[in-house]
Assembly symmetry: C2
Homo-oligomer: 328 residues x 2
Amino acid sequence: MRCNFMELVVAASMLAGVIVRATDPLPSWNDGAAKQSIIGFVERVTKDGSPDFVPVPERIAVFDNDGTLWTEQPMYFQLAFVLDRVKALVPWNVEWKDKEPFKAILAGDFKSALSGGEQAIAELLAATHAKITTEEFEKVVREWSSTAKHPRFNRLYTECVYQPMLELLAYLRANGFKTYIVSGGGIDFMRPWTERVYGIPPEQVIGSSGKTKFEMRGGKPVLVKMPSIGSVDDKEGKPVNIHLHIGRRPVMAFGNSDGDLQMLQWTAAGAGPRFCMIVHHTDAEREWAYDRESVIGRLDNALDEAKMRGWSIVDMKADWRVIYPFQK
Amino acid sequence: MRCNFMELVVAASMLAGVIVRATDPLPSWNDGAAKQSIIGFVERVTKDGSPDFVPVPERIAVFDNDGTLWTEQPMYFQLAFVLDRVKALVPWNVEWKDKEPFKAILAGDFKSALSGGEQAIAELLAATHAKITTEEFEKVVREWSSTAKHPRFNRLYTECVYQPMLELLAYLRANGFKTYIVSGGGIDFMRPWTERVYGIPPEQVIGSSGKTKFEMRGGKPVLVKMPSIGSVDDKEGKPVNIHLHIGRRPVMAFGNSDGDLQMLQWTAAGAGPRFCMIVHHTDAEREWAYDRESVIGRLDNALDEAKMRGWSIVDMKADWRVIYPFQK
């Protein structure tokens, strides 16, 4: 058989297509509605000439972090960081031994420590997240994130990330999406490790933040972290910060709790194709099972709205073949 | 002559090198210290194996806007927008005809209008930049930016951008840099046109901002622009917002006034190679000549510091062959 050049090109493209399709981009996802909804949507919006085609610059995907990209039980990992910081700083703050909420924390009594409500949390944040420069804080987080371990799995916290979501992030990026984190967690707490762990660079991380102050110290400019809240990136704060940081509406949004509802609503309300997904924690054996009654990661209104609006819902137990990378 | 395959490859690469070098990436820049400093720096940090090599993800370049990427005389273009908005909104706010600062503006007396200081400016911003949704505001800016004309050149404001800087932006992006705007101008005022005009997408625009509020209106979520300041992206505010939005220190920074000094200091203080440049307005004939005594775009301390630290200084009259794209 003799082929002309164009026939060869077409044949080669078809072969390439077969090869690409034969490689499952989401191997840790079981076949089912959740996986199909993702792949179906991505194929629809990336196909040239499709009525739902979305140009590459508009392909923005936003992800909550706690409970969506990594585990948030038995407590938000940033809280574990706060507790470790308090312990580490006691030698320089001996008065904490007799002062709440520090005293309770040092006794391992987290519940009492946090019973002081907002005031207690503000004091803890000021003590552990402020009065140092952004560079010093980054160093502290880098050190912590490469040593601190999860109590149940005895693995680094940064290893307790969801393998199926790592695959999803890579799959979306391979299809021209910019992947963002939009988390209630601290922006300066996440950035030192998100690039290494998720492939998400600092400039695509949005989170809660304290104010910072520009100062000259010994002729050298520094940014000092202040003990005052800049932005709480939760609930209504998420679309507000998406607008501030990204300036365009996401095409895809992923969350797992009521704190993500407004981000999903904001995403879904855009013109053209939009995709919203809720990760539902249903696997008490391999991870945790919780939703409407949980203090951490409560999923109630957002679950109702997801069902009402037909958003995708991940049933973690049924949909995820593997939870963590170390279980592969 | 017979060549083996490797010789052919080497010959082809050398030829390609000649072709690339023969095409001047900055044709609107006259040969001189400013142009040489840019090209020398970029070649140094992008050359694999060079001791000054900067990995692609770290290649962040930040640009002031007013007076650095586009003209800021005879008044900041956003002020022209404010004045046009006041005129357009008078039919719905007839009381403005007798109320300062609106009355003065309607009489064309900008100086009196702004003599009320911060209070007057806050009132003008609230009246023209707030109480509408972000989507409505975007539409207003889009309309204005495609119709409003500069009084001196009778060209769209968005045409009064600097041709040499457009070439510089493209040159840096071709060398793996992410280009950002970090401007005292309003973030929502710039984003509707920066991608079209500069090739800078909304998520790479940082500016002053008002607060926004998430609301449900008729079952649809909207973000409403509030009449309160969120962030003033000038002076110390620039490094603060660079940290908040980008989360890493720029490698290159470009400004033209004292409002950019802290951004340049912050950039210069990073470890490894850094590049800072000041655009000095020296061309009264083709643009404007101003520096130490100017109300708009005052360049005094930053000029001294640039000279002291050996930062690059663009002498607009000598260094730029062309000012605007329409003069090419």
